[in-house]
Symmetry: D3
Subunit: 264 residues, 6 copies
């Protein structure tokens, strides 16, 4: 039977356990391939740091080194995979992700496929070869399954329509709303379009209720800590503040305005 490669490992399943028990957790969203920045963010105190392999500005090396940086910083690394695809899901887990955010889950079948890709047999079809993650998670398959969380993104009209069935998928640990895509998919002309606000708010309530009904976590992407705080107050169990490149641009622009004495 495999043995862990080092005598001491921080509790590898803490993130998954906390998400499953619907504890409040707050994360940060990274799209830059800048490991020293990611390490710094991981040390601030966020419960998790998500590396975005779908819209992020990085590829597999960036995921791998990003997760290494998150581990060095002492947070829990999560990956938003590029697609609901077994290869992408397996590689994120092999790289050491403690949680997966799977985009564009539009049906119960999509959700079941995501879970299957993330779990070893007999529960799923994940292929064995935890080249980095075996150091920290598992390495026995059933333990690895236990220690990693699978979160399905609800961000299309189809996904919203099927959200209760999606939430009922065995092995799924939570729902995660992508507000930009959701807004556009329900008719918005752009993310945050006020023309669809009522529908958007109703959609969020439906997702919240579906997660609560299934006893799984309810998460949502947010652009700012203040929005995150509001979402937690609404009952979401986990929130991500996003994203590094946008925040960096924002603060750099603020400093420029201040330096030039511009009114804002």
């Amino acid at each position: 039977m495999p043995s862990p490669s080092t005598p001491v490992r921080p509790d590898p399943g803490a993130f998954a356990r906390r998400v499953r028990s619907r504890e409040t957790v707050v994360g940060y969203w990274v799209v830059l391939d800048a490991p020293p920045a990611t390490e710094r963010i991981a040390r601030i105190g966020y419960d998790y740091v998500a590396i975005d392999a779908q819209h992020g500005l990085l590829d597999y090396r960036g995921v791998l080194t990003g997760l290494l940086a998150v581990d060095a910083g002492g947070s829990a690394g999560v990956v938003r995979v590029a697609a609901n695809d077994p290869t992408a899901i397996g590689q994120a887990l092999d790289a050491g992700a403690r949680g997966l955010i799977v985009p564009l889950v539009n049906s119960a079948a999509d959700a079941a496929a995501a879970v299957a890709a993330a779990k070893y047999p007999p529960f799923g079809v994940r292929s064995y070869g935890p080249m980095r993650s075996g150091l920290r998670i598992g390495p026995v398959p059933a333990e690895a399954d236990e220690q990693t969380a699978v979160l399905a993104m609800i961000e299309t009209a189809a996904g919203l329509a099927a959200v209760e069935e999606i939430a009922a998928t065995p092995g799924l640990d939570g729902l995660y709303v992508g507000p930009s895509d959701l807004a556009i998919n329900i008719g918005g002309a752009y993310p945050g379009d006020p023309a669809v606000k009522a529908d958007f708010d109703a959609a969020l309530e439906r997702v919240l209720a579906a997660a609560a009904g299934a006893g799984i976590a309810a998460g949502i992407h947010t652009p700012h800590g203040s929005v995150a705080r509001e979402r937690l107050a609404e009952g979401w169990t986990f929130v991500t503040v996003a994203s590094d490149v946008v925040h960096l641009e924002t603060i750099a622009r603020d400093h420029l305005g201040t330096a030039r004495g511009e009114q804002r």
Copy 2:
């Protein structure tokens, strides 16, 4: 005679000319090897973006791609070289820097060496091979010399003691204060140590006066737009706001505090 490789080039010497004429210019400081972030910052409106090859988290590829990102973003790329060394200076210029910030200039001889390294014969000793910069600057040697600025860091007790001679160095375009090193070098226990505030302030006045006396630019590193604004009010002609990784950590921490409802 060499001809530019493209018919249209934005005014390649604008940064050097503005610095030399003691116009007010405001820059941003990059230590991360994250070209898409650097490109975004370069589009915000800063007059220049400096890539830090001394304390930055990057090597020559990072300098090269960073300058490419700055050009793509429409600002002027400057490099703080790793050392007052002809190889480092030549490579930064070959990569396309429009300005050089040379650390640890402690004497007029150091300043003269920095200028010599940055200029082609007969004025200096720069070796010819502008593999990237020739696209944008020069490429005739005398034009390249004209279009690139050399800035000497005053950040040690020795540099301060020699600041008037340094400022008088032919071909030097400006002084640039590194406040952290300067504070430590004049007896501070750490950057910003209030115990040396009086000496520190006097040092800044001396640098300002030396630059004004020599008719060259006076610049200083600042951590925040508000400090930058104060420095401009004091008479500094250029200021850099620093740095990306610190600002990113700051804003990420602020968002976390807000999300958690912490008092600050």
Copy 3:
């Protein structure tokens, strides 16, 4: 509503508009992950520079930095995606492509899938997260859709057989012939095999006619400027000259032969 991140942006939709109006445009084909070379090529005057993510010697970082180099050089970046796959298509657009060349389009359904992957709802299914492209294209979804072109490769027997239906796909902006694959797929033993020349030429005429009939652009890959010129004379509306690594090998071999005084 989103606002562009900088006040000045070169006309982001010019490439798509010119292709759609069947203007003559000439591009260059890059397979090397060598951003400073790509930047140089982008400055020469080509209307577009295509980064090849299918057969090119690069991965997503290469696409991203390649497009950055093309923007720095002032041309329009196009990506030949690795496959007709929504993830690959979305990521190329997020990285800043102004046009997509989609390989192996074998049916009208394939073409519709390519268009859907490239367009935001309601027209398509592209996921929102324009981490780099939002700087330059869009960022409002409908604008981004307008400003980016989708080109389908006709390079198999099946694609040729369905070329008129493919050309009629709503949202498709042009056809693009891959001559090597086409030659092999219609029975050639190798690209350029004279044994299939008559069929090959007939195929090209059919593609040309299909594009003209549908009022969309007709493009073709060429190995040399002289072939490109001939193709333009035949009525093709856009041509790419290919590729960097082959041209570099060719010219390096020519110089060696010349240096050694070999007859050619």
Copy 4:
């Protein structure tokens, strides 16, 4: 007709020919993106070196530079592709692989798809653009097909159940057992679980027999040279010893134990 780009090329099809003729060949398995290490291993005398793009710690740049290192070292480069996917298969071949190990082949249809992806028309559907491999393999399509081997992994219960049909797939050159996945898929709690030893051993015999019956190669992954030797004695025609990162960890741990005088 295409001509090879250099006058002298080592026998490009030797690996495929030896595998097909069921000669004994021994390989090594690389998961690290460390080209100088891979080059060293390739010089030791292994008949092939496999770069793992499924569970390995690398992406396409790692595959490309890894194969370059294998060629520099004088062995034959093989790629275990990330998935049974035409894009992944085509890119591995374009990068210069002389053999492909295709994971998770669960049916004759899967095997036929793998072969089709690896062969040019008329036999298959591989797209033409051998940007690196054309230097060394082929470049005429039929020659390239002849010079590259396709090996199907048998590592699931479904694959095992269909192994005879898989082995009969035209164009397939061998079977390759992934023992870790196979053990888990037939009910083991972890790789090497003794609880399923009898079934596991029976599975291996069935694979061996299927390969022999079809006249194709029979290969298996092994963790150690001594296991490799046993497998060869059992009749397997090719074996890989795996893997670099595990072996490095093992030897580094052994040195530490020795240095500290620990009993083992």
Copy 5:
């Protein structure tokens, strides 16, 4: 006054303190730019892991990511700098090294220069900008000085002749023998040349005695755990086992020999 960026940091000065107190410490030597391998090695239990920037196959990005991997793995990162040069020394410390191994220290002046480069004013001349190390070490200058060790390599005839003066350098924490260079420098035709064994052994005794006399650590490079054990028995206080690429080649060759049934 600067505050650490996170509330919890493992004892940052433990390595330096243990070296200074002449405790026995055992390290491992990394020349590969392969962060996931380095992380694994750092988890095995070595007291430190040294990244070799002199003869290693990496540059500054490799040092930076290597140290990140060592921190993720829970060991102490040390850097053998490329040269006894203030820029190289400062950058290794900025990247987060807890110890420096400085090559080719040939005189007391060389040793003093190494120490000066590694320490902030007033003790030395290190420039302030601990972009990564500030997270973990210091960040107050005097604390950072206390928490990082400086080790001088004795590996030339000149260094050996001056070893007692070198050992007496204020701020120097230890000597470190480079056996390959030392053997060649005292007349050996190659590392380990038996023709100079007597002189070599006498040299080691002299270094041991010099370190003991000065009350500083005595370290030596070794190729194997068994040699490391012997050196510790001789009285050396720290030993490095070297190196990853050689050990990997060794074990890969052993596995091949075993697989082929070769006698050794």
Copy 6:
């Protein structure tokens, strides 16, 4: 005594021996960090391929992978080091260079320093640690010294004035003219300035004569195969054609002109 790590190695000293015997050799100059392109060029038939670490667009990883590509392609790798500096010289040799081109050799002392840095004791001061080169060159120190060539660039007025003494330096294998720097250093306004043609031509004759007088090789940089041919006819024993990025730009521009039907 060290043994080579593989049984078969191509003649490692052929390049050095041919240069020393004043055979005619023709090389190519690489400034791009594009290993697959470099491998292709190395297969064309050039006697050597030089990687430019002074003005090239690459850093140490680029040198290392570039030399790996040259070895894979079957040519001899040479490095133009960034500076006449022992660290740069040692690292180029450790990476596997078979020859060194050392820039800016201005005196006999400079030449002696370059040779000393390139040779192991007792002849020089090179430090032992041939992490990649030991695979292919040496690895016994005296053999490595024999198998690697050192070439001094004559490209300044001072270097020209001392050329006879430089040529007489023991261990120096050749002179190499950098025409761009030489033209500028003798008063030209730019490389190729006709105003200094007479002095330039006289300088070349002096270098040729100095090399011949010392019995060492005489080399020169050229932009084109036709110039290379002329130089060989003048008596130069080795010539490099330069460079990849310029040739690529040239041929890409030519193709564009041809495609557009422009007169040239």
